[in-house]
Symmetry: C2
Amino acid sequence: MRYTNCFIPTLKETPSDAEVVSHQLMLRAGMIRKLAAGIYNYLPLGLRSIRKVETIVREEMDRAGAIELLMPSVQPAELWQESTRWEQYGKELLRFKDRKDAEFCLGPTHEEVVTDIVRREVKSYRQMPFNLYQIQTKFRDEIRPRFGLMRGREFIMKDAYSFDVDSSASDLSYDKMYQAYRRIFQRCGLRFRAVEADTGSIGGSSSHEFMVLADSGEDAIVSCTQCEYAANVEKAEARPAPAEHAEPRPLEKVETPAKRSVEEVTAFLGIPSSALVKTLLVVADGTPVAALVRGDHDLNEIKLKHLLGCETLEMANEEMVTRVTGAPVGFAGPVGLNIKIVADLAVQGMKNFVTGANAGDLHLKNVTIGRDVTPTQYADIRNVVHGDPCPRCEAGHLELWRGIEVGHVFKLGTKYSEALRATYLDADGKEQTIFMGCYGIGISRTVAACIEQNHDADGIIFPIPIAPFHCIVSAVNTKDAEVMAACESLYRDLGAAGVEVLFDDRDERPGIKFKDADLIGIPLRLVVGSKNLADGKVELKTRRTGEVELLPLADAVEKIRSIVAEALGR
Amino acid sequence: MRYTNCFIPTLKETPSDAEVVSHQLMLRAGMIRKLAAGIYNYLPLGLRSIRKVETIVREEMDRAGAIELLMPSVQPAELWQESTRWEQYGKELLRFKDRKDAEFCLGPTHEEVVTDIVRREVKSYRQMPFNLYQIQTKFRDEIRPRFGLMRGREFIMKDAYSFDVDSSASDLSYDKMYQAYRRIFQRCGLRFRAVEADTGSIGGSSSHEFMVLADSGEDAIVSCTQCEYAANVEKAEARPAPAEHAEPRPLEKVETPAKRSVEEVTAFLGIPSSALVKTLLVVADGTPVAALVRGDHDLNEIKLKHLLGCETLEMANEEMVTRVTGAPVGFAGPVGLNIKIVADLAVQGMKNFVTGANAGDLHLKNVTIGRDVTPTQYADIRNVVHGDPCPRCEAGHLELWRGIEVGHVFKLGTKYSEALRATYLDADGKEQTIFMGCYGIGISRTVAACIEQNHDADGIIFPIPIAPFHCIVSAVNTKDAEVMAACESLYRDLGAAGVEVLFDDRDERPGIKFKDADLIGIPLRLVVGSKNLADGKVELKTRRTGEVELLPLADAVEKIRSIVAEALGR
């Protein structure tokens, strides 16, 4: 495409309301424009990258045997009432009435609609397994839409739903999707991890998130240095720590005037934070529970919630703390505490540690498990930390990363098929409930995550597979007929070789052209200038490495074709 | 694709709530399923045809130099208030509030959004011309959604918008789109007409509709037997009729007891309907006006409305007729009538005709223009009829057709650019208003229109370019290993030759397979049976002609490849 016939409104300045780098760069590169909070126009350049991701997703879904369909955005309330989500889904579900006062919503997801299709058409076990997917515009009325495409309200998603006769067949469908997702993000040219994740409110037995690694990621994830293990920090398992061999010393009270936090107490007492045990009071379905974790560890509320099997879990407020411990906040301790006490596995073998004394300005020293405190239960209730031993293999330890969630696969079990009565007759003619899985990819979000991972001070650095164009041909001087003729033939020949070319035919200074090329992140730049051309040469710059190479004009097409073909795995 | 791995829920019975044939057949062929009134799931087979149309549209839009982008479905009220359409657009505009009580609508069209994008980015005449298009899901809250995809509420549309410096530049952009649209519908394999159309409420100076010809079409259109002229009946021009040479006879009153309609009066008097002139009373912006058209012609209210330049035009009610003519309905006539009288051109030279006498049960005979009646104005205010002379050429006459509107191109002028102040600086640095055009294609509707045009008692007859598959390979006996082996190799080799194949690998009786193949309308059917195969033969049936041919197995792939390639213009 010719730059003058494209619509690429680049910006010199960073828009003041864009907080994250992908949002800033997508605005500056003319990829998107805001229409309303969390609602964006995808301009031609942005749409091209989105379509690249779509195509890769579609090819891999098809290859995995999934079948594409397209469900509506506007969904009737009745189906959501059947699944009970009409009540459960909060204000993110945008609801409205049509001209006849019938209630509808804008689909944030399609479990209800797809289950409705399937329950009408599937009668027999012989019709399964199958997997239906769509690439479609979704709407979620986020309370704080921000970060551009990273957390928008209207966005493009691929959602797939598998239907199987039983749990083990459903596991196979899940594995197919897991493998397809790995191929998708590999083909996009992204560094990512597939991590075990908590199933959260969607329920079901198993779940993985696909995380694009980026320092700016909102999610903390871990992976093993040796084996394949990777998990969201919410879910990552900690191993029990070996018991300490020290001799217990006598319990002591020690004055700690106005020292409340772990940092304050350990600094005051001159001990490492791992020699202190935090006593955190939570309220589980209305009942107070004490959670003990080492001073250098953080409580993982999701693990604790699963352990207690409660509906709601929150940190106790000041009043509750005072009522239960008899002391102001900051001085709670397990000794003598008359409520359920859950201790983290790392606390299990600890001796001679410090805790609050359940009295103002006082802590206890040399507290020892078994002698001074007997927790009701030991369990893994902390977040893992960098360097923790891997829970799966003997050799590795855990590394911490920041990630951006771009895909999520879930085993749903029979949650929706039971609610909507999606059943089939088995080989014996007996009615059975269908097992489902659901599998999402944030298509527009993947492009934003790619930019979070791939950029520098000059702009975006697209991987070739999802770059809006593979190569930009820059004419240094559009007044030079020979330069323009060489550009035209490069443009034509590269196109014929399957390379997507943006031909910068603008009558602009080279500096402006080069800045724009860097900003919009085209992987390969071919510069055609009068001087080099006189020697039969053109200049190739690789955006990622900054490497510059003078090439014979005659070799340029083949060189670029081969770089692109290799990147696309052709 | 293998039939057993596809999701094609065909139905034997015609669903009772489907009134038109495309709706019936799309349901029966498992192409669509209803989710709510006017809202449909596109099942895999339906989506495949929709995507074929999308691809042809995209290729031709790109070829015409248009640039693809994607605008949101959810649009803020503010922009619609700026264009004043927030008030003007009726209940078809679905409006709602988000969680923060801000007003939005679901986009039925995107003039406001695209003009907003352009006014922010375009500063100079040098940035034009350009044309932005998208393929996107629209929502119009139709009061009576029906006929399946023919008049749905949620539907897929291609909408394009051109931006030019002035009216004549805008005409060029319009012509490019007109030509692109011709190519699009030709490539889809449809019989269609591009007709001049009334610009209606969108305004602007010029407009064409693209009509797929089908007996079930809602629109009446005409085209010339000799030249390129074609128009919507609303718009089609009538030529003046030559004056009659007869001698005027004396005016006579004749009793016509209870004879009111043209049919009743002419039968009673034994005259042809062309010897009677109807006097139709209309109310234009509150004022009564009489319109005279020949008894065998129909008044064209749109032409009359344009002529009178009024805001509202409606037929007079009984009370008004009696008040103005002094007679009951059915006996109005122009003689002695004291209001504005507009006579159709065909009435201009008439002599000795019959009209009402403005008195109950009485008509006038031998009424003659100029002697008995002098209309205020002569004008073309009737619908053309089959056989009318062409208004453009000397040789041809008009043929009447029924059509389904699938595309519409409009010159918008400055309607939206003025309202939203989309301006640019011309070469002299003077601020000017941008000229716009808009160009729509109903993508999902095109598939339905195709079926209205192409079907028989057995089902759909898809043209190859938009068929969900080009060819179906039917295994007569799936237990016969040789049959299955031959099918597998045909499936593989046809695929490799670029033919899209549905392999009917179901363990079903041949009758069921053939019925389904006919119903879903796959253009070419290759039947592989044990008996023919023993002779090295397979059977090729062409869906459209019903022609059956025995082919050597070895020739089948090349034969089908060449038929498909020819149909696709490869």
